[in-house]
Protein backbone atom coordinates (compact mmCIF):
# COMPACT_ATOMS: atom_id res chain seq x y z
CA UNK A 1 0.00 0.00 0.00
CA UNK A 2 2.88 2.37 0.83
CA UNK A 3 6.01 1.88 -1.29
CA UNK A 4 9.02 4.04 -0.57
CA UNK A 5 12.20 3.19 -2.47
CA UNK A 6 15.64 4.74 -2.02
CA UNK A 7 14.24 7.97 -0.68
CA UNK A 8 16.66 10.85 -0.21
CA UNK A 9 15.50 14.23 1.05
CA UNK A 10 17.78 17.23 1.49
CA UNK A 11 17.40 20.89 2.37
CA UNK A 12 19.55 23.89 1.48
CA UNK A 13 23.05 23.89 0.08
CA UNK A 14 26.62 24.65 1.04
CA UNK A 15 27.64 24.37 4.69
CA UNK A 16 24.03 24.37 5.89
CA UNK A 17 22.88 21.57 3.62
CA UNK A 18 21.00 18.95 5.62
CA UNK A 19 20.66 15.42 4.34
CA UNK A 20 17.52 14.75 6.32
CA UNK A 21 16.67 11.34 4.83
CA UNK A 22 19.28 9.02 3.34
CA UNK A 23 18.43 6.10 1.15
CA UNK A 24 15.35 4.96 3.02
CA UNK A 25 13.15 2.15 1.70
CA UNK A 26 9.93 1.13 3.43
CA UNK A 27 7.12 -1.08 2.25
CA UNK A 28 3.85 -1.25 4.17
CA UNK A 29 1.12 -3.72 3.25
CA UNK A 30 -2.59 -2.96 3.08
CA UNK A 31 -4.15 -2.95 6.55
CA UNK A 32 -0.77 -2.87 8.25
CA UNK A 33 0.45 -0.32 10.80
CA UNK A 34 4.06 0.66 10.54
CA UNK A 35 5.90 2.64 13.23
CA UNK A 36 8.78 5.10 12.91
CA UNK A 37 10.81 5.81 16.01
CA UNK A 38 14.21 7.32 16.68
CA UNK A 39 16.11 10.34 17.80
CA UNK A 40 14.69 13.83 17.55
CA UNK A 41 15.85 15.29 14.23
CA UNK A 42 16.50 11.89 12.65
CA UNK A 43 14.15 12.50 9.70
CA UNK A 44 10.86 10.88 10.75
CA UNK A 45 8.58 13.81 9.93
CA UNK A 46 10.49 14.44 6.74
CA UNK A 47 9.70 10.91 5.54
CA UNK A 48 5.98 11.43 6.17
CA UNK A 49 5.98 14.82 4.47
CA UNK A 50 7.85 13.38 1.49
CA UNK A 51 5.30 10.56 1.30
CA UNK A 52 2.60 13.26 1.03
CA UNK A 53 4.57 14.89 -1.79
CA UNK A 54 5.47 17.85 0.43
CA UNK A 55 9.27 17.68 0.37
CA UNK A 56 10.83 20.36 -1.84
CA UNK A 57 13.89 18.40 -2.97
CA UNK A 58 14.01 14.64 -3.05
CA UNK A 59 14.97 11.62 -5.08
CA UNK A 60 13.73 8.06 -5.13
CA UNK A 61 10.29 6.61 -5.70
CA UNK A 62 7.13 6.92 -3.61
CA UNK A 63 3.81 5.38 -4.40
CA UNK A 64 0.72 5.06 -2.23
CA UNK A 65 -2.25 2.89 -3.15
CA UNK A 66 -0.58 2.42 -6.54
CA UNK A 67 -0.49 6.18 -7.25
CA UNK A 68 2.92 7.67 -7.87
CA UNK A 69 3.60 10.70 -5.65
CA UNK A 70 5.47 12.54 -8.42
CA UNK A 71 3.54 11.72 -11.57
CA UNK A 72 0.19 10.38 -10.34
CA UNK A 73 -3.17 12.18 -10.23
CA UNK A 74 -2.83 14.59 -7.28
CA UNK A 75 -6.53 14.70 -6.48
CA UNK A 76 -6.82 10.94 -6.39
CA UNK A 77 -3.63 10.77 -4.34
CA UNK A 78 -5.03 13.12 -1.67
CA UNK A 79 -8.22 11.09 -1.47
CA UNK A 80 -6.14 8.00 -0.76
CA UNK A 81 -3.77 9.41 1.83
CA UNK A 82 -4.08 12.01 4.57
CA UNK A 83 -1.61 13.20 7.16
CA UNK A 84 -1.87 14.40 10.74
CA UNK A 85 1.00 16.84 11.23
CA UNK A 86 3.18 16.90 14.32
CA UNK A 87 2.35 20.56 14.79
CA UNK A 88 -1.45 20.75 14.67
CA UNK A 89 -1.37 24.48 13.95
CA UNK A 90 0.26 23.62 10.63
CA UNK A 91 -2.86 21.93 9.31
CA UNK A 92 -5.47 24.25 10.82
CA UNK A 93 -6.09 27.59 9.18
CA UNK A 94 -6.10 30.26 11.94
CA UNK A 95 -9.12 32.09 10.49
CA UNK A 96 -11.34 29.08 10.01
CA UNK A 97 -13.43 27.84 12.88
CA UNK A 98 -12.81 24.17 13.38
CA UNK A 99 -16.20 23.11 12.05
CA UNK A 100 -15.14 24.59 8.72
CA UNK A 101 -11.67 23.11 8.98
CA UNK A 102 -13.17 19.63 9.26
CA UNK A 103 -16.00 20.11 6.75
CA UNK A 104 -14.03 21.95 4.08
CA UNK A 105 -12.20 18.98 2.55
CA UNK A 106 -15.55 17.12 2.43
CA UNK A 107 -17.24 20.01 0.66
CA UNK A 108 -14.46 20.33 -1.89
CA UNK A 109 -14.77 16.64 -2.62
CA UNK A 110 -18.57 16.83 -2.75
CA UNK A 111 -19.10 14.40 0.06
CA UNK A 112 -22.75 14.66 1.18
CA UNK A 113 -23.89 15.45 4.74
CA UNK A 114 -20.67 17.21 5.63
CA UNK A 115 -22.36 18.98 8.57
CA UNK A 116 -23.65 15.83 10.20
CA UNK A 117 -20.39 14.04 9.54
CA UNK A 118 -18.49 16.90 11.16
CA UNK A 119 -20.59 16.54 14.30
CA UNK A 120 -20.01 12.79 14.34
CA UNK A 121 -16.26 13.24 13.93
CA UNK A 122 -16.18 15.81 16.74
CA UNK A 123 -17.96 13.39 18.99
CA UNK A 124 -15.61 10.57 18.02
CA UNK A 125 -12.64 12.64 19.21
CA UNK A 126 -14.29 13.58 22.48
CA UNK A 127 -15.45 17.11 21.61
CA UNK A 128 -18.99 18.40 21.15
CA UNK A 129 -20.85 20.09 18.28
CA UNK A 130 -20.49 23.34 20.25
CA UNK A 131 -16.76 23.25 19.52
CA UNK A 132 -17.55 23.77 15.81
CA UNK A 133 -17.52 27.55 16.29
CA UNK A 134 -14.14 27.80 18.01
CA UNK A 135 -11.00 29.05 16.32
CA UNK A 136 -7.88 26.89 16.67
CA UNK A 137 -6.33 29.27 19.21
CA UNK A 138 -9.43 28.93 21.37
CA UNK A 139 -8.77 25.25 22.00
CA UNK A 140 -6.35 23.53 24.34
CA UNK A 141 -3.26 21.87 22.86
CA UNK A 142 -4.72 18.40 23.01
CA UNK A 143 -8.07 19.53 21.59
CA UNK A 144 -6.25 21.02 18.59
CA UNK A 145 -4.39 17.78 18.05
CA UNK A 146 -7.65 15.84 18.08
CA UNK A 147 -9.22 18.21 15.56
CA UNK A 148 -6.28 17.54 13.24
CA UNK A 149 -7.06 13.82 13.52
CA UNK A 150 -10.74 14.43 12.74
CA UNK A 151 -9.87 16.54 9.72
CA UNK A 152 -7.62 13.82 8.35
CA UNK A 153 -10.37 11.24 8.82
CA UNK A 154 -13.06 13.35 7.16
CA UNK A 155 -12.26 12.18 3.63
CA UNK A 156 -12.25 8.48 4.47
CA UNK A 157 -8.65 8.01 3.37
CA UNK A 158 -7.25 4.51 2.90
CA UNK A 159 -3.87 5.49 4.28
CA UNK A 160 -3.20 7.71 7.29
CA UNK A 161 0.21 9.17 8.07
CA UNK A 162 0.21 10.11 11.75
CA UNK A 163 3.02 12.25 13.17
CA UNK A 164 3.01 12.02 16.97
CA UNK A 165 -0.80 11.92 16.96
CA UNK A 166 -1.22 11.65 20.73
CA UNK A 167 1.84 13.50 22.04
CA UNK A 168 -0.29 16.29 23.55
CA UNK A 169 -2.99 14.05 25.02
CA UNK A 170 -3.44 12.77 28.53
CA UNK A 171 -3.54 8.99 28.64
CA UNK A 172 -7.32 8.75 29.00
CA UNK A 173 -7.95 10.66 25.77
CA UNK A 174 -5.00 8.94 24.13
CA UNK A 175 -6.63 5.58 24.86
CA UNK A 176 -9.84 6.75 23.19
CA UNK A 177 -8.05 8.02 20.08
CA UNK A 178 -5.92 4.88 19.74
CA UNK A 179 -9.01 2.69 20.13
CA UNK A 180 -10.81 4.79 17.52
CA UNK A 181 -7.92 4.43 15.06
CA UNK A 182 -7.74 0.68 15.59
CA UNK A 183 -11.48 0.30 15.17
CA UNK A 184 -11.40 2.21 11.88
CA UNK A 185 -8.46 0.15 10.79
CA UNK A 186 -10.35 -3.05 11.42
CA UNK A 187 -13.63 -1.84 9.90
CA UNK A 188 -12.25 -0.06 6.86
CA UNK A 189 -8.93 -1.83 6.36
CA UNK A 190 -6.92 1.37 6.83
CA UNK A 191 -3.15 1.43 6.58
CA UNK A 192 -1.18 3.54 9.07
CA UNK A 193 2.29 4.93 9.28
CA UNK A 194 2.79 6.26 12.80
CA UNK A 195 5.65 8.37 14.16
CA UNK A 196 5.92 8.33 17.92
CA UNK A 197 8.61 8.77 20.51
CA UNK A 198 6.54 6.61 22.83
CA UNK A 199 7.58 3.00 22.34
CA UNK A 200 4.59 1.75 24.29
CA UNK A 201 2.25 3.43 21.80
CA UNK A 202 4.19 1.96 18.87
CA UNK A 203 4.22 -1.48 20.42
CA UNK A 204 0.48 -1.28 20.96
CA UNK A 205 -0.39 0.08 17.52
CA UNK A 206 2.17 -1.27 15.03
CA UNK A 207 3.00 -4.72 13.67
CA UNK A 208 6.37 -3.53 12.43
CA UNK A 209 8.60 -0.54 13.00
CA UNK A 210 11.78 1.13 11.80
CA UNK A 211 14.29 2.75 14.11
CA UNK A 212 15.97 5.85 12.67
CA UNK A 213 19.16 7.75 13.43
CA UNK A 214 20.78 10.55 11.43
CA UNK A 215 18.44 10.23 8.49
CA UNK A 216 18.94 6.49 8.08
CA UNK A 217 17.03 3.43 9.11
CA UNK A 218 19.24 1.53 11.52
CA UNK A 219 16.90 -1.36 12.12
CA UNK A 220 13.52 -2.71 11.07
CA UNK A 221 11.80 -5.09 13.44
CA UNK A 222 8.48 -6.62 14.21
CA UNK A 223 6.41 -6.09 17.32
CA UNK A 224 7.52 -9.37 18.90
CA UNK A 225 11.16 -8.33 18.70
CA UNK A 226 10.35 -4.97 20.26
CA UNK A 227 8.47 -6.70 23.04
CA UNK A 228 11.17 -9.25 23.72
CA UNK A 229 13.76 -6.48 24.02
CA UNK A 230 16.05 -8.40 21.67
CA UNK A 231 16.76 -5.62 19.19
CA UNK A 232 19.98 -5.98 17.19
CA UNK A 233 21.31 -2.45 17.51
CA UNK A 234 22.66 -1.01 20.74
CA UNK A 235 20.84 2.29 20.08
CA UNK A 236 17.51 0.48 19.91
CA UNK A 237 18.22 -1.54 23.03
CA UNK A 238 19.06 1.65 24.94
CA UNK A 239 15.83 3.21 23.72
CA UNK A 240 13.81 0.21 24.88
CA UNK A 241 15.62 -0.03 28.20
CA UNK A 242 14.93 3.63 28.92
CA UNK A 243 11.25 3.20 28.09
CA UNK A 244 10.19 0.43 30.41
Amino acid sequence: MIEIENLNVWFGEGPDRVDAVKNVSISVGEGESFGLVGESGSGKSTILRAAMGLAPTWSGRISIGGIDARSGDRRQFLKTVQMVFQDPYASLHPRYVIGEAIAEPMRINKIPDSEARTDRLLEAIGLTPAHRFRYPHELSGGQRQRVAVARALSLDPKVLLLDEPTSALDVSIQAEILNLLNRLKKELGLTFMIVSHDLAVVSYMCERLAVMAHGEIVEVMDRETLRSGEAKEQYTRDLIAASV
Binding site: F11, G12, P15, D16, V18, V37, G38, E39, S40, G41, S45, Q86, D87, P88, Y89, G126, A130, F133, H137, E138, L139, S140, G141, G142, Q143, R144, R146, D163, E164, S167, A168, L169, D170, V171, S172, I173, Q174, A175, E176, L178, N179, N182, R183, H197, L199, A200, V201, S203, Y204, L226, R227, D238, L239, I240, A242, S243, V244
Partner: protein, 286 residues
Amino acid sequence: MTGKLVEIDDLRVAFRQEDGSYAEAVRGVGFTLGREKLGIVGESGSGKSLTGRSLMGILPKTARVSARTLRFDGNDVLSAPAETMRKLRGSRIGMILQDPKYSLNPVMRVGRQIVESIRAGDPKIGKTDAEKIAIDMLEAVQIRDPERVFRAYPHEVSGGMGQRVMIAMMLVREPDLLIADEPTSALDVTVQARVLDILDELVTRRNMGLIFISHDLGLVSRFCDRVIVMYAGQVVEEIAAKDLENATHPYTQGLLNCMPRINGSLEPLPVLDRDPAWLAETGGAK
Protein backbone atom coordinates in the same frame (compact mmCIF):
# COMPACT_ATOMS: atom_id res chain seq x y z
CA MET B 1 10.93 34.70 55.15
CA THR B 2 8.98 36.47 52.42
CA GLY B 3 6.50 33.69 51.83
CA LYS B 4 6.08 31.45 48.84
CA LEU B 5 7.33 32.07 45.33
CA VAL B 6 3.84 31.51 43.95
CA GLU B 7 0.52 31.77 45.76
CA ILE B 8 -2.73 31.05 43.97
CA ASP B 9 -6.14 30.91 45.57
CA ASP B 10 -9.53 30.59 43.89
CA LEU B 11 -8.30 31.34 40.38
CA ARG B 12 -11.09 31.50 37.82
CA VAL B 13 -10.88 31.98 34.07
CA ALA B 14 -14.00 32.22 31.92
CA PHE B 15 -14.82 32.75 28.26
CA ARG B 16 -17.88 34.22 26.64
CA GLN B 17 -20.00 31.77 24.73
CA GLU B 18 -22.15 32.00 21.63
CA ASP B 19 -25.22 32.85 23.68
CA GLY B 20 -23.42 35.60 25.59
CA SER B 21 -23.10 33.76 28.88
CA TYR B 22 -19.70 32.95 30.38
CA ALA B 23 -18.34 29.43 30.80
CA GLU B 24 -15.60 28.84 33.33
CA ALA B 25 -12.58 26.91 32.08
CA VAL B 26 -10.66 27.29 35.35
CA ARG B 27 -12.87 26.97 38.42
CA GLY B 28 -11.26 27.90 41.70
CA VAL B 29 -7.73 26.57 41.30
CA GLY B 30 -5.40 27.07 44.23
CA PHE B 31 -1.88 25.98 45.14
CA THR B 32 1.42 27.36 46.35
CA LEU B 33 4.92 26.80 45.06
CA GLY B 34 8.27 27.13 46.76
CA ARG B 35 11.69 26.40 45.30
CA GLU B 36 10.56 22.99 44.16
CA LYS B 37 9.25 20.94 41.24
CA LEU B 38 5.48 20.89 41.07
CA GLY B 39 3.86 18.68 38.46
CA ILE B 40 0.45 19.40 36.97
CA VAL B 41 -1.30 16.52 35.24
CA GLY B 42 -4.87 16.20 34.11
CA GLU B 43 -7.27 15.73 31.32
CA SER B 44 -6.86 17.47 27.99
CA GLY B 45 -8.81 20.73 28.27
CA SER B 46 -8.85 20.72 32.07
CA GLY B 47 -7.25 24.16 32.37
CA LYS B 48 -3.55 23.40 32.88
CA SER B 49 -2.23 25.79 30.25
CA LEU B 50 -4.67 28.53 31.22
CA THR B 51 -3.50 28.26 34.83
CA GLY B 52 0.11 28.71 33.69
CA ARG B 53 -0.79 31.61 31.45
CA SER B 54 -2.73 33.33 34.24
CA LEU B 55 0.38 33.37 36.37
CA MET B 56 2.41 34.82 33.49
CA GLY B 57 -0.25 37.45 32.83
CA ILE B 58 -0.62 36.31 29.21
CA LEU B 59 -4.20 35.14 28.99
CA PRO B 60 -6.06 35.80 25.75
CA LYS B 61 -7.78 39.20 25.73
CA THR B 62 -11.17 37.53 25.59
CA ALA B 63 -10.64 35.78 28.93
CA ARG B 64 -12.30 37.01 32.11
CA VAL B 65 -10.04 36.27 35.05
CA SER B 66 -10.41 36.63 38.81
CA ALA B 67 -8.65 35.28 41.86
CA ARG B 68 -8.61 35.78 45.59
CA THR B 69 -4.82 35.53 45.37
CA LEU B 70 -2.56 35.35 42.34
CA ARG B 71 0.92 36.30 43.43
CA PHE B 72 4.44 35.80 42.16
CA ASP B 73 7.05 36.59 44.80
CA GLY B 74 4.81 39.14 46.44
CA ASN B 75 3.67 40.77 43.16
CA ASP B 76 -0.07 40.75 42.65
CA VAL B 77 -0.29 39.58 39.04
CA LEU B 78 -3.82 40.87 38.45
CA SER B 79 -3.24 44.41 39.71
CA ALA B 80 0.44 44.89 38.77
CA PRO B 81 1.04 47.50 36.03
CA ALA B 82 1.49 45.93 32.58
CA GLU B 83 5.04 47.27 32.52
CA THR B 84 5.94 45.45 35.75
CA MET B 85 4.59 42.19 34.40
CA ARG B 86 6.43 42.67 31.12
CA LYS B 87 9.70 43.15 33.02
CA LEU B 88 9.07 40.09 35.14
CA ARG B 89 8.40 38.00 32.03
CA GLY B 90 11.60 39.27 30.46
CA SER B 91 13.73 38.24 33.38
CA ARG B 92 12.36 36.44 36.42
CA ILE B 93 9.48 34.33 35.09
CA GLY B 94 9.79 32.11 32.06
CA MET B 95 7.22 29.95 30.34
CA ILE B 96 7.88 27.22 27.82
CA LEU B 97 4.70 27.22 25.77
CA GLN B 98 2.98 24.07 24.66
CA ASP B 99 3.25 24.76 20.91
CA PRO B 100 6.87 25.81 20.71
CA LYS B 101 7.13 26.37 16.99
CA TYR B 102 3.99 28.47 17.04
CA SER B 103 5.40 30.60 19.86
CA LEU B 104 8.71 31.32 18.16
CA ASN B 105 8.89 34.22 15.74
CA PRO B 106 8.66 32.54 12.32
CA VAL B 107 10.66 35.17 10.44
CA MET B 108 13.57 35.50 12.85
CA ARG B 109 16.47 33.08 12.99
CA VAL B 110 16.49 30.84 16.04
CA GLY B 111 19.88 32.11 17.27
CA ARG B 112 18.84 35.73 17.23
CA GLN B 113 15.75 34.93 19.27
CA ILE B 114 17.84 33.24 21.93
CA VAL B 115 20.37 36.10 21.94
CA GLU B 116 17.54 38.61 22.41
CA SER B 117 16.21 36.54 25.25
CA ILE B 118 19.62 36.54 26.96
CA ARG B 119 20.01 40.29 26.59
CA ALA B 120 16.49 41.00 27.75
CA GLY B 121 17.38 39.19 30.96
CA ASP B 122 20.74 40.93 31.33
CA PRO B 123 21.43 43.90 29.00
CA LYS B 124 25.06 44.05 30.17
CA ILE B 125 25.95 40.89 28.24
CA GLY B 126 27.64 41.77 24.92
CA LYS B 127 26.52 40.36 21.59
CA THR B 128 29.45 38.00 21.08
CA ASP B 129 29.19 36.62 24.60
CA ALA B 130 25.44 36.17 24.17
CA GLU B 131 26.00 34.22 20.95
CA LYS B 132 28.40 31.92 22.71
CA ILE B 133 25.99 31.37 25.60
CA ALA B 134 23.24 30.60 23.09
CA ILE B 135 25.25 28.02 21.20
CA ASP B 136 26.43 26.40 24.42
CA MET B 137 22.86 26.14 25.61
CA LEU B 138 21.72 24.58 22.31
CA GLU B 139 24.48 22.04 22.76
CA ALA B 140 23.45 21.44 26.37
CA VAL B 141 19.93 20.52 25.27
CA GLN B 142 21.51 17.91 22.97
CA ILE B 143 21.18 19.66 19.63
CA ARG B 144 23.74 17.91 17.43
CA ASP B 145 24.64 20.77 15.13
CA PRO B 146 24.11 23.88 17.27
CA GLU B 147 25.76 26.27 14.78
CA ARG B 148 23.42 25.31 11.97
CA VAL B 149 20.37 25.45 14.22
CA PHE B 150 21.52 28.85 15.49
CA ARG B 151 21.27 30.11 11.90
CA ALA B 152 18.03 28.25 11.07
CA TYR B 153 14.48 29.61 10.96
CA PRO B 154 11.90 27.88 13.18
CA HIS B 155 10.30 26.00 10.25
CA GLU B 156 13.69 24.51 9.41
CA VAL B 157 14.02 22.54 12.64
CA SER B 158 12.19 19.38 13.68
CA GLY B 159 9.41 19.25 16.28
CA GLY B 160 11.68 18.11 19.08
CA MET B 161 14.40 20.57 18.08
CA GLY B 162 11.87 23.44 18.20
CA GLN B 163 10.88 22.32 21.66
CA ARG B 164 14.50 22.37 22.77
CA VAL B 165 15.08 25.79 21.20
CA MET B 166 12.21 27.11 23.29
CA ILE B 167 13.68 25.45 26.39
CA ALA B 168 17.10 26.94 25.66
CA MET B 169 15.56 30.37 25.20
CA MET B 170 13.97 30.27 28.64
CA LEU B 171 16.87 28.64 30.47
CA VAL B 172 19.53 31.12 29.34
CA ARG B 173 17.82 33.72 31.53
CA GLU B 174 18.00 31.54 34.61
CA PRO B 175 14.53 32.63 35.76
CA ASP B 176 13.33 32.33 39.36
CA LEU B 177 10.15 30.65 38.19
CA LEU B 178 9.78 28.44 35.15
CA ILE B 179 6.41 27.24 33.90
CA ALA B 180 7.10 24.40 31.49
CA ASP B 181 4.00 23.38 29.52
CA GLU B 182 4.57 19.90 28.05
CA PRO B 183 8.23 20.78 27.52
CA THR B 184 9.44 17.33 26.52
CA SER B 185 6.40 15.86 24.76
CA ALA B 186 8.28 15.54 21.44
CA LEU B 187 11.54 14.19 22.83
CA ASP B 188 12.76 10.63 22.87
CA VAL B 189 13.64 9.21 26.26
CA THR B 190 17.40 9.66 26.03
CA VAL B 191 17.30 13.34 25.05
CA GLN B 192 14.50 13.90 27.53
CA ALA B 193 16.64 12.63 30.38
CA ARG B 194 19.39 15.16 29.63
CA VAL B 195 16.96 18.06 29.39
CA LEU B 196 15.42 17.09 32.73
CA ASP B 197 18.90 17.02 34.28
CA ILE B 198 19.35 20.65 33.28
CA LEU B 199 16.00 21.66 34.75
CA ASP B 200 16.77 19.77 37.92
CA GLU B 201 20.10 21.50 38.23
CA LEU B 202 18.46 24.92 37.99
CA VAL B 203 16.05 23.98 40.75
CA THR B 204 18.77 22.74 43.07
CA ARG B 205 21.59 25.12 42.21
CA ARG B 206 19.69 28.30 41.34
CA ASN B 207 16.75 27.69 43.64
CA MET B 208 14.35 28.00 40.76
CA GLY B 209 10.71 27.09 41.23
CA LEU B 210 9.36 24.82 38.51
CA ILE B 211 5.79 24.16 37.40
CA PHE B 212 5.94 21.15 35.14
CA ILE B 213 2.78 20.51 33.12
CA SER B 214 2.78 17.06 31.54
CA HIS B 215 0.55 14.16 30.66
CA ASP B 216 3.38 11.68 31.18
CA LEU B 217 2.48 10.21 34.56
CA GLY B 218 5.58 8.07 34.91
CA LEU B 219 7.81 11.02 34.17
CA VAL B 220 6.02 13.34 36.58
CA SER B 221 6.12 10.84 39.41
CA ARG B 222 9.87 10.26 38.94
CA PHE B 223 10.88 13.86 38.31
CA CYS B 224 8.65 16.11 40.43
CA ASP B 225 8.34 16.57 44.18
CA ARG B 226 4.62 17.15 44.32
CA VAL B 227 1.78 16.69 41.83
CA ILE B 228 -1.59 18.29 41.44
CA VAL B 229 -4.22 16.61 39.32
CA MET B 230 -6.71 18.72 37.39
CA TYR B 231 -10.08 17.74 36.02
CA ALA B 232 -12.62 20.04 34.37
CA GLY B 233 -11.02 23.23 35.64
CA GLN B 234 -10.47 22.14 39.23
CA VAL B 235 -7.70 20.64 41.30
CA VAL B 236 -9.12 17.27 42.29
CA GLU B 237 -6.08 15.83 44.04
CA GLU B 238 -2.72 16.87 45.41
CA ILE B 239 -0.19 14.19 46.22
CA ALA B 240 3.53 13.58 46.76
CA ALA B 241 4.94 12.65 43.35
CA LYS B 242 6.33 9.34 44.50
CA ASP B 243 2.87 8.32 45.74
CA LEU B 244 1.12 8.99 42.44
CA GLU B 245 0.49 5.28 41.98
CA ASN B 246 -1.59 5.32 45.14
CA ALA B 247 -3.71 8.24 44.02
CA THR B 248 -7.22 8.09 45.41
CA HIS B 249 -9.34 10.21 43.10
CA PRO B 250 -11.10 7.89 40.64
CA TYR B 251 -9.99 10.08 37.71
CA THR B 252 -6.33 9.71 38.68
CA GLN B 253 -6.70 6.01 39.33
CA GLY B 254 -8.49 5.55 36.03
CA LEU B 255 -5.69 7.37 34.21
CA LEU B 256 -3.11 4.88 35.35
CA ASN B 257 -5.15 2.07 33.78
CA CYS B 258 -5.39 3.69 30.35
CA MET B 259 -1.67 3.62 29.66
CA PRO B 260 -0.45 1.28 26.94
CA ARG B 261 2.69 -0.63 27.94
CA ILE B 262 5.40 -2.07 25.76
CA ASN B 263 4.46 -5.57 26.84
CA GLY B 264 0.81 -4.86 27.45
CA SER B 265 -2.28 -6.48 25.97
CA LEU B 266 -3.32 -5.66 22.40
CA GLU B 267 -7.01 -5.62 23.29
CA PRO B 268 -8.76 -2.21 23.19
CA LEU B 269 -7.34 0.02 25.92
CA PRO B 270 -9.47 0.60 28.99
CA VAL B 271 -11.13 4.00 28.81
CA LEU B 272 -12.37 6.22 31.58
CA ASP B 273 -15.95 6.10 32.69
CA ARG B 274 -16.33 9.78 33.53
CA ASP B 275 -18.64 10.22 36.47
CA PRO B 276 -20.68 13.46 36.23
CA ALA B 277 -20.14 13.78 39.97
CA TRP B 278 -16.49 14.66 39.27
CA LEU B 279 -17.73 17.93 37.80
CA ALA B 280 -19.25 19.24 41.03
CA GLU B 281 -17.45 22.20 42.50
CA THR B 282 -15.41 21.05 45.43
CA GLY B 283 -13.78 24.28 46.51
CA GLY B 284 -10.31 22.81 45.96
CA ALA B 285 -10.29 19.21 47.11
CA LYS B 286 -7.17 17.66 48.48
